[in-house]
């Protein structure tokens, strides 16, 4: 069977399975639609949370990112896992005890204000759309790379699948589908990692093998990698704070991602779906355990693939180049523009010898026509010894396209480890599972923010159960279409706005919720002023820095890490203003008292068992 046929059958089989689960878990009430009837066991919720959390970016791009950044890549690993400790300790059990449907629910009820609720709704929708656009694009890219269909067609197929299982099964359908998607994506990630680890070191456990010795020459892998990097002019792989990433920025980005993770609405709502407070704590544990299976493996894959890539390319002639290089060259993820000596040379920024130049590039956002033009011009330039045409190396490095695309690390690893075609097909199914599971979780947050928080809690509080469910389904359908459109016509800012999503979540939700639980004194006005100031500062700093070319005036902290400062502003203003404003009502103080205590009783339980829920 050919690779394409394998891929097609794997993708079709997994999609059919997702639809079957959706049909089996279709729901008839809002509790099922928003929080899966609160009947999900902790371990299953952990798997669903893990699949929800690990997006197309975690699956396809993260290992590649670490592979080019070395030590500094650790900030993504720590940031995207450390947030779960905050979730488990500071948020999940209490929000579960509070027992509503959404994050704006908590903000609105705790601060007794529909304005606060609306601020939270806007943030939740903005954060979720930012994120979901990238996922839909990811689906399209996977389809186009593995099945050679147009990106647009890929996005449309992904939309159709998500549309069916999200509208039919709501949170319940999404959760059980995510459980399956977790296993698809983790299997697809681990098999190539184990294979390349075994091939290079003889040790099948990537996490240990990363610190082990190479079979080839008996030297420690990381030492060898550091050696290669300094020889070829790249920043050291294991040494921290070299190049662009100084200590302050690594610190701020790490902390910003941690706090942002804990404040992301699609992660928080997962803890509403379990049976009890205790189950909420345990499901945070299971979630991080399942997530760590990928996050502990990714840095190992990054190091192996980095070493193997350099080894199998550097100094080779066209005839000696490996097969994986040829197949991925066609996609433009890696390009070779030779200087005329017929040998491939791959160098980093700090050039070891001025006479040598890097010859490895990627096509990035260039269309196929533009890419072909650069290659033709380069060939003419070579043939005419620089009289005609243009040096493609100069052209591409001026466009910032030096070095291979980072996605190649995960996508080409199965071929580097010479695995069978069906495993490569499995990687395609895994990448799709990662993108779809995250997209569906985000779409549900959008739907609940609009249908529950906006329509039911603000616009029409007397809506019947049936009306609310219908609106919920309608909004999720609409959101799928908008997300799909964002995937087909990606706004130029998508790659930068992920930092935006985390920064915003860190500066808005996290302080508001933590203060709401751990203080009975913080009232409406200070919390709202804090939230607005935190969001305002973070948003204007990121927009100014990314679009207006503003210098990083705040102690040199870049836009990715600025969420920490926004969070501090929010905490500082809320706490500083609290003594000047009245304390919350007795009802709110009782509510806070009751969510701190796991034994039932108190107002939260009354709300939960009240007739309208």
């Amino acid at each position: 069977m050919s690779l394409k046929l394998w891929t097609l059958s794997f993708v079709a089989a997994s999609f059919g399975f997702y639809l079957l689960i959706a049909w089996l878990s279709r729901v008839r009430d809002t509790s099922g639609f928003y929080v899966a009837g609160r009947g999900i066991p902790a371990a299953a919720n952990g798997m669903a949370t893990a699949a929800d959390w690990m997006s197309a970016a975690s699956f396809i791009s993260m290992a590649g990112l670490i592979s080019t950044m070395g030590y500094a890549g650790g900030m993504y690993l720590m940031g995207w896992t450390g947030g779960y400790v905050l979730l488990a300790l500071l948020l999940a059990p209490y929000l579960r005890k509070f027992g509503h449907y959404t994050v704006p629910d908590f903000v609105g009820d705790r601060y007794e204000s529909n304005v606060a609720r609306l601020i939270a709704v806007v943030c939740a929708i903005f954060v979720s759309f930012t994120y979901v656009a990238g996922q839909m694009r990811g689906v399209g890219i996977v389809f186009s790379r593995f099945l050679e269909v147009d990106i647009t067609v890929g996005v449309l197929i992904g939309m159709a699948i998500v549309f069916v299982y999200a509208t039919l099964g709501g949170m319940k359908g999404i959760t059980w589908t995510q459980v399956v998607q977790y296993w698809v994506l983790i299997t697809a990630f681990l098999i190539p990692a184990i294979a390349i680890s075994f091939k290079l070191t003889g040790n099948p456990v990537p996490q240990l093998a990363m610190g082990g010795r190479l079979l080839e020459d008996g030297l420690p892998l990381l030492e060898r990698l550091d050696g290669l990097h300094s020889e070829l002019g790249f920043a050291s792989y294991t040494e921290p704070f070299v190049g662009r990433w100084d200590k302050l920025n690594v610190f701020c980005v790490t902390l910003s991602l941690m706090v942002g993770t804990a404040g992301l609405p699609h992660v928080i709502v997962r803890f509403y779906t379990v049976k009890s407070v205790r189950a909420a704590r345990w499901s945070a544990f299971w979630a991080l355990l399942f997530i760590s299976a990928l996050y502990l493996t990714a840095p190992a894959t990054a190091a192996f693939a980095r070493y193997y890539m350099i080894q199998s390319l550097q100094g080779r002639t066209e005839a000696q180049l490996p097969a994986w290089f040829r197949s991925w060259r066609q996609t433009g993820l890696i390009l070779w523009l030779d200087d005329g000596d017929g040998r491939l040379e791959y160098y980093g920024g700090s050039n070891p010898a001025p006479a040598r130049q890097n010859e490895i590039f990627r096509s990035g956002n260039l269309g196929s026509a533009e890419r072909a033009a650069v290659e033709v011009d380069h060939q003419r330039w070579l043939d005419s010894s620089g009289v005609q045409g243009a040096d493609g190396r100069q052209v591409l490095s001026a466009k910032g396209l030096s070095g291979p695309d980072r996605d190649i690390i995960v996508l080409a690893t199965p071929e580097m480890a010479s695995l069978a075609d069906w495993i490569i097909a499995l990687v395609a199914a895994g990448a799709l599972a990662a993108a779809l599971s995250t997209a569906s979780g985000l779409l549900l947050v959008i739907s609940s923010s609009v249908a529950h928080d906006l329509y039911y809690r603000v616009i029409n509080p007397s809506a019947s159960e049936g009306q609310r469910l219908a609106v919920g389904r309608m909004v999720i359908g609409l959101a799928v279409v908008v997300a799909g459109l964002l995937g087909v016509f990606p706004p130029g800012f998508v790659s930068q706005v992920v930092a935006f999503a985390f920064g915003l979540a860190a500066a808005s939700f996290f302080p508001a919720i933590v203060l709401g639980i751990f203080s009975k004194r913080v009232g409406t006005a200070p919390a709202m002023i804090g939230m607005v100031a935190g969001i305002g500062f973070t948003a204007s700093y990121i927009i100014g820095s990314v679009y207006a070319g503003m210098p990083d005036w705040c102690f040199g902290i870049g836009p990715q890490g600025i969420g920490v400062v926004g969070m501090l502003i929010n905490f500082g203003l809320s706490l500083g203003l609290t003594p000047l404003f009245p304390a919350p009502s007795q009802k709110v103080r009782d509510m806070v008292e009751s969510i701190r205590e796991p034994e039932g009783a108190g107002p939260a339980l009354v709300i939960e068992s009240a007739p309208e829920h």
Binding site: G82, V85, S292, S594
Partner: protein
Amino acid sequence: MTQDPIDVHDPEIVSAIDRYWRSNVRLMTVLLVIWAAAGLGCGVLFADALNGFRLGGFPLGFWFAQQGSIIVFVLLILAYGLMMNRLDARHHRELERIRRIASRSGEGPTDR
């Protein structure tokens, strides 16, 4: 959730809930200090210094940033879950005791 609702204004119950909350906050503080020390401390702030030491084939700071901190995070949540299970059970027994005493005194002293 089948028990009688707890009266959050009963002074004995308030003090039981208060004790539970304070133990919870104490435990949380300890775990968060470890969290910060492992992730932000060993993984970032002291990473350059720790890289002078080795753990197997890993420079130690690098290992913390890409492996160690994640392992510590998983263990922290596990520890919190286990300890809170115990604390929850103790809290439950305490509330039961208060409730038993309350119902006994309601039935009058002829019981004994």
